[in-house]
Subunit: 347 residues, 2 copies
């Protein structure tokens, strides 16, 4: 993020409302005012050098990035700002890493209201705080009308791995137990409801939240976590299909064990969607050794983020690369990875 610029006697007036112009992306005074008054102010960042410098202990750091293009930008339970921060905090948490610092880069369409940017920046700051992380560096670019769509945000993050585990799909073993942190499908259905103005809109809130407290609880309980994955695009089924492929195992999922809110189930039926493939932004699966499954479940349920955690399945060796759904009728059904597009621009 570049420095504010208040040294000019003929400094332009502060940004009281108004809209973003191409000049706000030009690298000059208007851009510096925008950065200072909207972003640096919300993030409590000095923003006067090209990067941020942070002290770390010797050990392993996790790094991750995600772009966010969700439409609408504001939806029940969150907005593109909180989502962008939660998403990157969660990717760090899925490495078992304590979030340390985040960056935020904005691609803004000309004509976007500056008040919209302010709302997004405040929301990002609050979300970062929920994960104990600071937004320490950033960037803004402006593109012409019809070369963008409001605001796109790319966050990146650095976290500290304060354990010796190798939390990765390749650590998954036959016999491991699959825990699911709560009910699924709320983010996808809340965004679809807001987008299409559907009648279920009011009752459904996105599950978008920071998952680090739930992961920290697992680590503090001494659980030998084998793998973690938050359930985003493609939903639970696609996450498990990725596990099965990378680890060369079969994953058996108990249909009856997977919590789905009645409102989500109804919305999915209305839209012809399977909740197992619908996007979440505050749910994850943990793969743990069988002897620690109960202790892990207790550790998860102690946190508000995962108080609805359940044992949802097991890891088997029979059909490597496959996810099998044990249905309510006791039959086994193959769950493939999501094919094609289900819900565009859900995150």
């Amino acid at each position: 993020m570049n420095p504010p610029s208040d040294f000019q006697p003929a400094c332009p007036a502060p940004l009281q409302g108004g809209r973003v112009t191409l000049a706000h992306g030009g690298g000059g005074r208007l851009m510096h005012n925008l950065v200072r008054e909207v972003f640096a102010a919300a993030f409590n960042s000095s923003a006067d050098h090209d990067g941020a410098v942070t002290q770390v202990p010797a050990g392993r750091i996790a790094t991750t990035t995600d772009g966010y293009v969700v439409r609408p930008m504001f939806f029940p339970g969150g907005d593109i700002g909180s989502l962008a921060v939660h998403g990157t905090l969660n990717d760090l948490a899925m490495c078992g890493a304590r979030p340390l610092c985040l960056s935020a880069a904005f691609i803004i369409e000309e004509g976007t209201e500056i008040e919209v940017l302010r709302r997004i920046a405040r929301s990002m700051a609050a979300a970062a705080q929920s994960g104990g992380a600071a937004i320490t560096t950033g960037d803004t670019k402006v593109v012409e009308r019809d070369s963008g769509d409001g605001v796109y945000i790319t966050t990146a993050g650095v976290g500290l791995c304060e354990h010796n585990l190798e939390i990765h799909p390749r650590s998954i073993r036959e016999g491991d137990v699959l825990l699911l942190s709560g009910d699924i499908g709320r983010h996808g259905m809340a965004v679809m409801g807001a987008r299409e103005n559907l009648s279920f809109e009011s009752s459904l809130q996105s599950d978008s939240q920071c998952l680090w407290p739930a992961v920290r609880s697992l680590l503090e309980a001494g659980i030998d976590v084998h793998c973690l994955r938050d359930l985003t695009r493609g939903g639970l089924a696609t996450a498990l299909a990725e596990f099965a492929r990378t680890a060369g195992v079969e994953i058996e999922l108990e249909e009856e064990a997977v919590p789905v809110l009645p409102a989500v189930r109804a919305a999915c039926e209305f839209l012809g969607l399977d909740p197992l493939y619908v996007a979440n932004e505050g749910r994850f699966v943990a793969v743990v050794p069988p002897r620690q499954a109960q202790a892990a479940l207790i550790a998860l349920r102690r946190t508000p983020e995962a108080e609805g955690a359940v044992v949802a399945g097991t890891v088997r060796a029979q059909r490597p690369g496959q996810v099998s759904l044990r249905t309510r009728m006791g039959t086994l059904r193959n769950l493939p990875m999501l094919s094609g597009e289900q819900l565009p621009r859900i995150c």
Copy 2:
């Protein structure tokens, strides 16, 4: 970056050409194929978890991010991919940090040719290698036609500060000497030439390059570097205006000392631009103590990236917050920060 997906017996055919569809952003098989065959292949990344884990020693790390929206995406001397990598490597270098790892997030407009993505990915991989860094994690999103414009890239990076200096505008002192690493204005004029199909197009190449080797040379020579800044949007004048404001000093720049290629000068005159405000992507200024200025100049000139380095000015106390240009006629002229927009979407 998400895992490849080759476990499906009925896996879609490889991406031989073709164009990006919304389904390539859906989180399912098409997206996994795109990530595997285009990005993970070029970056030599396994890409099968939500983040990348890297070992670091105890000490300071630098983090930075930048979004890239340059048009055209391919221009003489580079493209949006090499630019996105050089830009983030350079922001790390300006913290005096050795580049360690990079992330890359893509926002792709529906309809973009997959071959264009391949070219960009190859270019990014080569640029990362020039800085000794790996691209270890990433993300792809797809937006509808008219909600984007080809490809936008946001890179973020982590680097290691292997020194005890505080390289920051607040370390600038009265009497310090300002070094400039080479001729200015080439990136801006090369992109403008390519965009407008102007006659000077063929003779001008962007200066886009990784500056870490030049910075490393300064550090290895034991120079007590006070501040570094690469010259991007807003050009040399705006970078110096930022220094003057943050450090509360006057910076006197010698007009005669600033190298400008004749072709750049001619192009600037044609377009009515001042080269001091034109964007660069491979040039930087270093502020060093006067007793080390000659040693620093020698250290810079030893590297191909800064073989044209010059002493360009000094830091004074007279007019805090101001940049003064000592003209060829010996007069002093105030150089304000760039006001408004000069060259939209130059980076």
